[in-house]
């Protein structure tokens, strides 16, 4: 009896590590939809031509290294097109047999692509942060590896509450995405007990983003713009369009710190992050890309690693199996953030800590100590299961 049991145990254990007998092939694509945008306020923020692609290449390399031991071959195609070519590019990728497509696009484009892609394709969202894509407009064929706006805003507000800086002057831009971001800060403030004492809108009046000696004018404009506000602890800038936020630090009327779109920024990644073994990861990326890693690169790396882990662990390569494994309780991914990343099964969002950076160092990482949750502290960031309006995942 005990021999039989032992034999069974050994057999089961052998099955656990049994490697596929025949070669598997995984074809992954990254589709980046490039809208024409003006130059950023800071030239340090110029978009590299391989933005997002380089991260995917590193992820693909990592998968290939592992694949050498599991007899799995990974190929990657990267493509950047204008918004009016997005649908055709998706169709062409599908026709070429790509069923695992990582997309860097704005929310409305991603939504259109997901409706067009159909159930045989799995899209991995490595760009759009719109809440609605994870909520009422969620789609069963999209997994989100990029954090949502509310995960970012919750990450900032938790930190401000830990600091006991609860009074906020919210300055938002005039673009629709700025309004959406501002709304997330309002909700986060209400969720964690911060108070938005006043709101102001910085209207984008157009014109050149940068001019020679532009700082002279900024130094005169911003103090006046922030004058006579209700007493506050921190300015939060909601400036997704990138029009004004970097001008706020040091120029506000009152000597107060800035967070949000400038100052202390919530990010999925930044190039100075070193904790939890990230240094080697940064170096591997820099060696490959010849530049430092951006958020988009981390997110596409994540997308490739989600695919790689799901394929390695499940032994299957089709999009439906990758999706099913990623959403299962067995899925876990180590990604240099100090704990495993998993998907929220009710809306396909990857749970992840949010880094808070001043642009030079990791200032803090949210969730903050003391924000507890019955399932995972990571679910204190963003929409939680009881609040979700997403029903495409069987919820």
């Amino acid at each position: 009896m005990s021999d039989l049991r032992l034999a069974l145990a050994v057999f089961c254990a052998a099955m656990l590590v049994a490697l596929p007998l025949r070669a598997m092939e995984v074809k992954a694509a990254v589709l980046r939809i490039d809208r024409v945008v003006g130059p950023p306020i800071s030239r340090l923020d110029e978009r590299p031509a391989d933005l997002g692609f380089a991260g995917a290449m590193l992820g693909n390399e990592d998968n290939r290294t592992t694949g050498a031991f599991t007899d799995t071959d990974y190929t990657l195609k990267t493509q950047a097109v204008a918004p009016d070519k997005a649908a055709a590019a998706l169709d062409a990728l599908k026709a070429e047999g790509f069923g695992l497509i990582t997309v860097i696009a704005e929310g409305d484009i991603l939504k259109a692509l997901s409706d067009r892609a159909g159930p045989d394709v799995l899209l991995l969202n490595a760009g759009a942060r719109d809440e609605t894509l994870r909520d009422a407009d969620c789609r069963a064929n999209v997994l989100h590896v990029s954090p949502s706006r509310s995960m970012l805003s919750d990450g900032v507000i938790q930190f401000l509450m830990w600091k006991k800086w609860p009074r906020i002057l919210l300055i938002h831009g005039s673009h629709p995405e700025d309004q959406l971001l501002a709304e997330n800060y309002r909700k986060s403030a209400a969720k964690f007990g911060a108070e938005i004492v006043e709101e102001r809108e910085f209207v984008d009046t157009g014109g050149a983003r940068r001019t020679d000696t532009g700082h002279v004018m900024v130094q005169k404009q911003i103090p006046v713009f922030t004058q006579d506000a209700e007493d506050y602890d921190v300015i939060i800038a909601a400036d997704e369009a990138g029009v004004f936020a970097p001008y706020l630090p040091y120029h506000s009327w009152n000597p107060r710190p800035v967070a949000g779109s400038a100052g202390l920024r919530p990010v999925s990644w930044h190039a100075a992050h070193e904790a939890w073994g990230a240094t080697q990861f940064q170096r591997r990326f820099e060696k490959l890309a010849g530049r430092s890693m951006r958020e988009e690169d981390y997110q596409t790396w994540l997308a490739m690693r989600v695919i790689g882990e799901a394929v390695t662990q499940s032994g299957k390569t089709d999009p439906a199996s990758v999706r099913a494994y990623a959403l299962s309780a067995d899925f876990e991914l180590a990604a240099f953030k100090g704990q495993k990343l998993t998907f929220r099964p009710w809306n396909g969002q990857l749970r992840q800590p949010i880094l808070l950076t001043d642009g030079r160092v990791t200032v803090s990482v949210s969730p903050q100590d003391g924000y507890l949750h019955q399932h995972s502290p990571l679910d204190t960031l963003g929409i939680d299961a009881p609040e979700t309006a997403c029903h495409a995942f069987g919820g």
């Binding site: 590590v17 031991f69 080697q280 170096r283 495993k340």
Partner: protein
Amino acid sequence: MLRSAVVLLPAVLAFAGPAEANKVFVTNERSNNVTVLDSQSWEVIATFPAGNRPRGITISPDGKELYVCASDDDTVRVFDPETYKELHTLPSGPDPELFALDPSGNPLYVANEDDNLVTVVDVKTRQVLAEIPVGVEPEGVAVSPDAKTIINTSETTNMAHFIDASTYEIVHNVRVDQRPRYAEFTADGKKLYVTSEIGGTVSVIDLTAPEPAIAKKIGFAVPGILPEWLQPVGVKATKDGSRVFVALGPANRVAVIDAARDEVLDYLLVGQRVWQMAFTPGEEFLVTTNGNSNDVSIIDVKEETVIRSVQVGEQPWGVVVAPN
């Protein structure tokens, strides 16, 4: 019957007389030095500079050479354990973190995370003998008691690679949970323990069959501690095959495991972010490095209790005890 007598004999010998005083060397990752403790008085007897960001540490079987991974110097520094003078350096590849010495004292197997290689270094000639391609971000290295097999764990590939020490070829790969950090053979070479920091488990790999296979995965649970913080890192097995100790990182606990059944018996509260561990030669004591409380905890192995903690440098990381 004969076997149990053989197993008992070393244990009896170990407790026959008073423990000898041995030097305990602790690398301090942040303060760039090594703290030397006396294993009888547990007093700090010396501190010496060890290059930039010292982490992995080991000592030659004859006790004459102390090897330190100076991670930010991209080299392995070799010190005289008596004088604390640096003797020379060894080529390691960039950012060495962990390594293992062949039981004979040569060669040294170094995990080279940046290039997905295990570098084999001859400690006498100071030459690189081989570079073995492994998975992404190689980390833990272990050598089997018979010196025939080298284990390397790769943190992003999530495998334990079994490398033939004579051919330097990978002969087996065993998939484990996320971010495998450290590997430890039992003294009889029949089992291998691999910790998965992010996966939160220890894989027990059975080595008695022709193919190594996972026999069990040990999980952890401590009331009041978030499961996310139960992150197994260092692991040490007693020579008598009775106990395995697992450092649980930010959970500030060392798990005591019954090695016969591979089940957790107890959790010992140590310092903050417990990382690596080392036995004294007779296995009377186990020393743990506690990175966030800047101390080491001393565990009485027989009693399975923490008897004291000793302040060392900033962010202690690795530890090794000089042989008798």
